[in-house]
């Protein structure tokens, strides 16, 4: 069943809901290029023309066919559309679930720029959230690192974080009242559970986003726990972070 003609409207901002946003051409209504997705009135094979927003691993899907499972039990007329979607299956081709799609209502280059901007705004919002969740944010240099304690072999799993301590000489505190030197905890483990979390090195400068996780080890409650908890010192990035620290938390 074909959808009724839609009124032309500016592309909405659905970046928060959709992880794979692209302009594509509906090639085969009611078809599927993936065994796992039975063809129906709510599926179509779409050629991806230009990806506007996606995880880095999906950027090579430009030029490929994907199967779109439409949100409504109907699919739109063949032609060029902007698709806000989320991937659901990866097989011979990808299958994506539509959040929303609309006819291409503006110049393709302008659209790409606008969605790129939305994407940046979404990233900034994520960073704001992450800063808000941090208990302290400091700019500084790692003076030394050491193992926090000998492992307790009875309580050590294969995923043991192997806690280490880093002493940071603080250049500027962006959140919290810290000054001088601050000791923080980080997981030095290369295990699958921890490898993405930064491992500070002696002499390394950075912006440290620090969290309390209920543990006190080596005399500190603060820890580096997430992949984005140690950011390079770039003035713009620091300024950006400063702007998003609530005024009452600034020094």
């Amino acid at each position: 069943m074909a959808r009724p003609r839609e009124p032309r409207a500016a592309t909405p901002n659905l970046i928060g809901e959709a992880r794979f946003v692209f302009t594509g051409i509906v090639q085969q209504q009611g078809h599927s290029s993936l065994f796992f997705v039975p063809p129906s009135g709510a599926t179509a094979v779409v050629r991806v023309e230009r990806i506007h927003h996606s995880a880095p691993a999906l950027r090579s899907q430009e030029g490929q066919q994907v199967t779109v499972v439409f949100a409504q039990d109907s699919n739109p007329a063949e032609g060029r559309r902007v698709f806000f979607t989320n991937p659901i299956l990866y097989g011979e081709t990808m299958a994506v679930k539509e959040v929303r799609s609309s006819e291409l209502a503006e110049d393709a280059a302008e659209l790409h720029e606008r969605i790129a901007l939305m994407s940046l705004e979404a990233e900034a919002a994520q960073l704001r959230e992450h800063i808000a969740s941090a208990d302290a944010v400091v700019v500084g240099e790692v003076v030394s690192t050491r193992r926090a304690h000998e492992p307790d072999i009875a309580r050590m799993s294969e995923h043991d974080p192997d806690w280490h301590l880093a002493t940071i000489r603080i250049a500027r505190a962006l959140k919290g009242e810290h000054k001088g030197e601050l000791t923080v905890r980080f997981p030095n483990s290369r295990d699958v559970a921890w490898y993405r979390v930064p491992k500070p090195q002696e002499g390394q400068e950075g912006v440290f986003l620090l969290h309390r996780d209920g543990l006190e080890i080596g005399g500190t409650h603060l820890a580096i726990l997430h992949p984005t908890d140690l950011l390079p010192v770039e003035e713009e990035r620091v300024r950006h972070i400063s702007e998003h620290v609530e005024p009452r938390n600034r020094r």
């Binding site: 992880r19 794979f20 993936l34 065994f35 796992f36 996606s54 995880a55 691993a57 999906l58 090579s60 899907q61 030029g63 490929q64 989320n86 991937p87 659901i88 299956l89 990866y90 097989g91 011979e92 081709t93 990808m94 299958a95 679930k97 072999i153 009875a154 309580r155 050590m156 799993s157 294969e158 995923h159 974080p161 483990s189 290369r190 295990d191 699958v192 559970a193 490898y195």
Partner: protein, 545 residues
């Protein structure tokens, strides 16, 4: 065993041709009611960065695989999957979004792109490992796990006598199993249930902590773990405690490394599907000089009361996985670090024996792949385990290895779904042009036999309930004689059980279906080989010119 066939498939789907993740630590399950439906796992993220973790799913007997996003919590830190009845899929995972939080998950029935349901959640748990069997209309599910929720890590089993039908927590309850606990137990807790009610559980019980020495222990329950004191039916006469100590205080290479792989907890156990008295055990220890970790295989023929000496050993090896077919073939998959010239490599073997290594087993090398620091991002490099499953009289395996497209690395051939140029030994992106860096991928392996002279199944001495296929030839479909009879007389319990009667009939028809499916696989395999030879021929011709 000259009629044996091997089919190896790189499981990364074509649409993920650009991926460079270290997809290690695999597991595999085959739907017992539809052998074409399989689910595999590895440390593979959703390439799209979504909130659900993926499994690899195949609906065509392992020839093609699709990444299906169904695991709550994102890419898990450990995962294990098994099918039950009615296409129910069970999983034990450590959630990716919460450190050491175990979820037992259920999807009944398994359905593509539908998130699994959480039926159990516990914290401070390591390495959940699922085993399942079906009996008396119920799925009996056992999740071995290492529980440190109160004190040291202890061998534990989360189990349910009816996991498919009950609402969460689906009948699951947790039992600790080590009566000798002094220091701790290792992460590998391996249950092996049999449909007659027998459940074996193997574990390491530490005796010293530095250096680590541990007993290799097998516990047993004779009633699916449903009694007042589960997993205490096998007593060690030497100390009067439950769990027979197959080996005493052996040295364990805890957190030692070989060829980038972290060692220290390698264990596998398998029970004969037709006779629960027969059980095989494999473990890794550091008892042999010159080997970081040596695998040992032993056997009991009397329900774990007495054990053989070593039937087979493999030095510098890990990821042991045992499986036993219905007709008694024992398969043993393991990965061994070898040195070729100056370079180390991982060889993935499957040993197959029909007589418990009384004569040398057939050794199938599935892969011989490089150890490559450029592909080493995290531990474990290739996995804390691999997996071998027996279905009927066949073996299905899964292992992780370096993915450089080089036919020389796969002695029995290999089929890649992802784009790859075997002539140039180069992976290619989804556009078929852009080069892609090597990494670690999961590989599926199917080992089966054809042109068996005769297959006969009987369920009782009266001679009814038989499937007889003679003279099945694969060049053409030609069955000289097909006899299919069934009755309801398998045992006292099922003598007048119509369900059992239908089950036997269904089973026979499935077996016939399997044999026909082999024909399809054989033809596909031949076609791949033909295509490969044609490509090589073209390549040589090209170079000659």
């Amino acid at each position: 065993m000259s009629n044996r066939r091997v089919h190896v498939v790189n499981m990364i789907p074509k649409s993920m041709s650009g991926e460079t993740n270290q997809d290690s630590e695999p597991q595999l399950t085959i739907n017992p009611e539809n052998h074409r439906m399989m689910v595999g796992t590895a440390f593979t993220p959703d390439p799209g960065g979504g909130p659900l973790g993926p499994v690899f799913a195949s609906f065509d007997g392992g020839n093609t695989w699709t990444l299906d996003l169904i695991v709550p919590g994102g890419e898990p830190n450990d995962q294990s999957v098994r099918f039950g009845s009615g296409s129910a899929l069970y999983a034990g995972v450590l959630r990716g979004d919460h450190f050491l939080r175990m979820n037992v998950l259920r999807s009944a029935p398994y359905s593509g792109s539908t998130a699994m349901q959480t039926v159990v959640q516990r914290d401070t748990i390591d390495q959940p490992y699922v085993a399942a069997t079906h009996s008396h209309g119920r799925d009996r599910v056992f999740v071995g796990n290492n529980d440190a929720s109160s004190g040291p890590y202890r061998g534990s089993v989360e189990h349910s006598a009816d996991a498919r039908n009950a609402p969460p927590p689906a009948g699951f309850s947790q039992n600790v199993i080590d009566p000798r606990l002094t220091i701790r137990d290792s992460p590998s807790i391996r249950p092996a249930p049999h449909h007659d009610g027998t459940v074996y559980v193997a574990y390491f019980s530490w005796r010293t902590g530095g250096p680590v020495h541990a007993d290799i222990v097998v516990a047993r329950d004779d009633h699916f773990g449903t009694g007042a004191a589960p997993f205490t039916d096998l007593i060690d006469p030497n100390d009067g405690l439950s769990g027979f100590r197959v080996a005493l205080s052996v040295p364990i290479p805890w957190f030692f490394y070989v060829a980038n792989e972290r060692l220290g907890s390698c264990l596998s156990i398998a029970v004969h599907p037709e006779n629960s008295d027969i059980v095989y055990l494999a473990w890794g220890d550091g008892s042999y000089p010159g080997s970081q970790q040596t695998l040992h295989v032993r056997r009991s023929l009397d329900r774990g009361v007495t054990w053989s000496g070593d039937l087979f050993t493999a030095p510098n090896a890990t990821n042991a996985s045992l499986a036993i077919t219905r007709n008694g073939k024992v398969g043993f998959l393991y990965q061994q670090a070898v040195t070729s010239g100056a370079a180390q490599r991982w060889e993935t073997h499957v040993q197959i024996t029909r007589n418990g290594w009384a004569t040398p087993a057939e050794d199938i090398v599935l892969a011989n792949t490089p150890v490559d620091n450029a592909t080493y991002t995290y531990d474990p490099y290739i996995g804390d385990y691999a997996d071998l499953q027996a279905v009927g009289n066949e073996f299905h395996g899964i292992f992780c290895a370096h993915n450089v497209p080089n036919m020389g690395n796969f002695p029995h051939g290999v089929h890649y779904q992802r784009n790859a140029d075997f002539a140039a030994n180069q992976l290619l992106d989804v556009n078929g042009i852009t080069p892609v860096a090597n990494s670690i991928d999961p590989f599926y392996a199917h080992i089966w036999w054809h042109e068996e002279e005769e297959e006969e199944e009987e369920c009782c001495p009266e001679g009814v309930g038989r499937l007889i296929v003679r003279g099945l030839r694969y060049e053409r479909l030609e069955i000289d004689e097909l006899e299919l009879e069934s009755c309801c007389c398998c045992d006292e319990e099922h003598r007048h059980d119509e369900h059992s009667h239908r089950f036997r009939r269904g089973h026979m028809v499935r077996r016939l279906g399997e044999r026909l499916e082999h024909l399809g696989k054989h033809l596909l395999h031949e076609a791949h080989e033909h295509e490969h030879h044609e490509n090589e021929h073209e390549h040589h011709k090209h170079h000659k010119h």
